[in-house]
Amino acid sequence: MLTRQRSALLLPLTGFLLVFFVVPLVWLLSLAVREAEVPRALPRTLTVLQSWQPGQALPASLFPGFAQDLTEARAASTLADAARRLNYEVNGVRSTLMRAAREVSSAPADTAFNQDFFATVDPALASPEFFAAVRRANGPFSAYYLLAAFDLTRNAKGEIEHATEANRIYIDVLLRTLGISASVTILCLLLGFPVALLLTQVTEKTADWLMILVLLPFWTSLLVRTAAWVVVLQKEGMVNGLLMRLGLIAEPLTLIYNRTGVLIAMTHVLLPFMILPLYSVLKGIPPHYMRAAASLGARPVTAFFRVYLPMAAPAIVAGSLMVFILAMGYYITPALVGGGADQMLSYFVATYTTDTGNWGLASALGLMMLATTILLYAVAHKVSGGRALSMG
């Protein structure tokens, strides 16, 4: 139990985390369910739409308010955000809305802004489908982005249905992300365990040298290492050159811009995160346990599996979990050495954040990734009997 004085020592860190981690994180994730753009830009339109149901004729009282909303939102620079949001659901409406706002502003003073006026600007702006989308984008909250992250959408009647085949993406990407992360974790374990074992067997001086070799890539920038793999793996690169010269292959292998390249580069980058936790536990396993097992008649293989491995299990769980969770978040390595079918979830989070500026979908995908990671962590914690929590 922490005493009151001791817990006071944690106050600065708690405050720091609260202000710089928890608050921004919650704010960002809340973007996945918030709807602010359309309510801000089209308040009058939304008020009239409250009493309208999809399937009914559009009320005539809708359009004068819509026109006024467009003029004011354009002047306040809030229309573009709303147009972008509506374009996610009604493809093509983005520039149509901006054009309608310009035409409303420049129309003669005695113009009647009715359904016909907007139908002349563009038929989409007088259609029930468009106003149904406006109505669905009413705030303060909606499930639009969360549904989109699970490849679901609402039809004009407001019922949830699957996105069209060509737009079903993110479930596949999530499964792909989990698949790549699992493969990388297994590769890291297969390559890392012998190294960690070796580190415990050699003299301290040799271990120090080996440790530097393990840590050297760890200290090098991720981008540099990834770029180096491009040079090594390319068609006229070092690996292909060597294999051809040795006569092992006649044609250069395709090692890059596909899954092979992603697995090789990510395994290399993440290897230290497996070796370090493994080593810290393995070096604490007294060597005489194995000798005792041998003296009691166990063959080396039996001794390894019945004595050594159970003691190493917490380290294996901790190292695997660490590698797996870090791998889940990778995007720059797959982006540079992978192909179209190797991009992971965070690639899309990054694209939507910085590129297209669809922060709602970025947050929803981030939430999806966070929830999956927490779920997997909880499962690992459960099956390992609580040992997953101790990182070595």
Binding site: S77, A80, G92, N167, E236, A341, T356
Partner: protein
């Protein structure tokens, strides 16, 4: 004693923080461009001479993205003043109020620039093409346009294209027989989109994707691909710097324009306008193609450009008449949906 030392250090750190804060407020004019060899050229031609003329200037590089600009403006901690943006970023960012409205009189007047290069929020910086490029040392029979790019029997081997729908759908339709004049008309129909993806399907197993403009010449050099789409300036740069024999096919290639914008609410607005005016002067612009072969936007710059460079320039009439203009509006409206479709398409075998 020890406590005192800690307090002194803490105080010093605190003052240093305050100092850097004050520095940020009275900072120099900050210009942001695309980095690499291109920005090195801009430094020589624009930034250094402008600095020498008396206004202190710093430069930064970015990778594009409207989300980045929006964060800068809406986050309220914008340190950028003049930024080079792509055509869709200019259009959408202007609608969103991320840029200052441009006072054309302050940047040299509209008459100074080529028609169509002056926008409410920005002025054209460079014009460039997405060309078909190949290694002249490796391919004997030169490809003659997009039809050959999609013909894996005539020219076997991998090809690389940008990882995204933009420009790829256009060239797929052209390869399928659509004339470059009608490309966007066809793309505006659902059947046109289907047709483009179907054409891309025919070479899907031979495709490799690039993300940044530096990759295509590197992929060509490494032998990973026999042909690629690429920004024309990058190809010429590889020929000059790395002594490559890369060739460009200009026929039916899309061209587009980057623009200079001034970020909304900058305390450096007057200096920013001065810089944009300086970079728009014909004699200054005429020096840029020597460093990187992109077309410039001042009408009077063309006769001042070194004649030997003209063959590589997008604004060379011989090249321009073969090319077609990117339809920015089409991509602003359809980009979101087509990006999803592209992701799905490129992610399945």
């Amino acid at each position: 004693m020890k406590k005192q030392a800690v307090a002194t250090i803490a105080g010093a750190v605190f003052l240093a923080c305050l100092g850097s804060q004050a520095l940020a407020q009275s900072r120099d004019l900050n210009v942001v461009s695309w980095g690499g060899a291109y920005q090195d050229g801009q430094k020589e031609v624009f930034f250094k001479p402008f600095n020498a003329s008396g206004t202190k200037l710093t430069d930064e590089a970015w990778d594009g993205g409207l989300g980045v600009l929006r964060t800068k403006i809406k986050g309220g901690n914008n340190t950028w003043d003049v930024v080079q943006v792509e055509a869709d970023e200019l259009e959408v960012g202007c609608d969103e109020g991320l840029y200052e409205k441009l006072d054309v009189a302050k940047i040299g007047g509209a008459a100074r620039y080529l028609p169509g290069t002056v926008h409410a929020c920005g002025v054209g910086a460079i014009i460039y093409n997405l060309v078909l490029a190949y290694d002249g040392d490796k391919i004997k029979a030169a490809p003659n346009g997009w039809g050959d790019f999609f013909d894996t029997k005539k020219i076997p081997g991998k090809r690389s294209i940008r990882n995204g729908a933009k420009w790829n759908l256009e060239v797929a339709l052209i390869a399928d027989g659509v004339s470059s004049k009608d490309v966007y008309k066809v793309l505006r129909t659902p059947e046109g989109i289907e047709r483009a993806f179907k054409k891309l399907d025919t070479i899907k197993s031979d495709l490799v994707f690039w993300k940044s403009g530096a990759q295509p010449p590197q992929m060509l050099a490494a032998g990973d691909v026999v042909m690629t789409t690429a920004y024309n300036g990058r190809i010429t740069a590889a020929n000059e710097k790395d002594k490559k024999n890369f060739k460009i096919v200009w026929k039916d290639t899309p061209y587009t324009m980057d623009s200079w914008v001034i970020m909304k609410g900058t305390p450096q607005k007057a200096n920013a306008e001065k810089l944009v005016e300086f970079m728009g002067r014909p004699d200054n612009q005429a020096k840029l193609p020597k460093f990187v072969r992109y077309g410039v936007t001042a009408a009077a710059a063309a006769p001042l450009i070194d004649k030997t460079l003209m063959g590589d320039l997008p604004t060379n009439p011989d090249n321009l008449k073969l090319a077609f203009a990117e339809d920015v509006k089409f991509w602003i409206d359809n980009g979101d949906k087509l990006a999803e479709r592209w992701t799905k398409w490129s992610g399945t075998k």
